[in-house]
Symmetry: C2
Subunit: 181 residues, 2 copies
Amino acid sequence: MDLREEQVSCEYKFKGRIIKVRLDQARLPDGKIAGREVVEHPGGVTVAALTDEGELLFVRQFRYPYMQEMLELPAGKLEPGEDPFEAMKREQREETGTFAETYTYLGEIYPSPGYCGEILRLWACRISGACEMDLDEDEFLEVLKIPLEEAYQMALRGELPDAKTQIGVLRTYALVKDGKI
Amino acid sequence: MDLREEQVSCEYKFKGRIIKVRLDQARLPDGKIAGREVVEHPGGVTVAALTDEGELLFVRQFRYPYMQEMLELPAGKLEPGEDPFEAMKREQREETGTFAETYTYLGEIYPSPGYCGEILRLWACRISGACEMDLDEDEFLEVLKIPLEEAYQMALRGELPDAKTQIGVLRTYALVKDGKI
C-alpha cells in the first residue's frame, strides 16, 4: 500500500526565533488534496549523564507553554549549522558544568510527528569531569541529581512526563542493567 | 529559586485546524521581558495494545512533516470536549478494529515542552475483542503486529523514533515483566 503524500503548495504562516509554521496543501494517496499544518524546528539534543555515584543529572525549569516547572534531562536546540554531537556537549557543559570522555548515542526522537518536524538526538554518558556552567541570558534552571533507580521508578509511575526525559531514563536504565555503559 | 515566568501579552499568529500558534511576551524571574513562542494543540491519546499472542499493535503511517513512513502506536487527537479515555478507545477501535475490557493508565507525555503545550495520554491494554475499523477520510495506514520482545529490542536500537511509541513500548515491556498487565 502506497501511503505517500506529496507537497502541492507551501505557505509560511509564522517565522519565529525558534519555530516556523507552514500550511501546506498535500496530495493524498487517493489523489485528493488536504491541508497539512507543519511546525519546523532546528532540532535538539539531550543527554542522560550519570555521576560516579550512579545518579542522573536533571534540570528543573519553568516551561512556559504549560506554565509549570518540569524536571528534564539537560537539553537544548541546535544553533544554525551546529553539529548535533558538539551541540549536546555544549548544552551539557553550559547547563550542568560537566563533561564526559565517551558518549553512547541512543538515536533520534520525533516528539510529535503528526504536525511537527523536530528531530531530537539523545546520548548517555558517565561524567568524567567538571567545568563552569554558562547559562543563556534568559535561561533559569536548577541542576538536580537523582539516583538512576529512583528516576526509573519515577518514569514508571508517570512522574516524568517530558518525552525525551522519560525515554532517556528508561533507555539509560536498560543500558546500565545490560552492562553497556 | 523562583523560576516562574508570567504572561505579559499574547498574540495569535496562526489558527489552524489542528494547532494554534502564539507569540507571547513573558516576564522572566529577573524581571526582564522575553518573547515566548507557543504551539497550542487540543491534546492526544495513544494506546499500547497487546494481542493474546503477546504482540503489540502498530500502525504504519506517512508523516508529512518528515516526508517518511513511520511505525507508531495507534493514536489520535482529542475532539472538542471529548474525554481522553473515550478518545483513546475510539482511536483504537477506528485505527485497529480492537478493544479491551480493562486499560492501565501510564500517564501524560509532554512531547516538546520548550515551545509546545500538547499533552498526550498513554494507556496499555490486553485486547479482548475485535470490531470494525473506521478510518477518517484523509487517514491512510496499515496495522502491524510485532512481538513485544522484538519491539523492545527495536526501541533499544533506536528504531522507534516516535516519542510516544518508544515510551509505550518501554513501559509496556516493564509492565509485562513485572506481571502488572
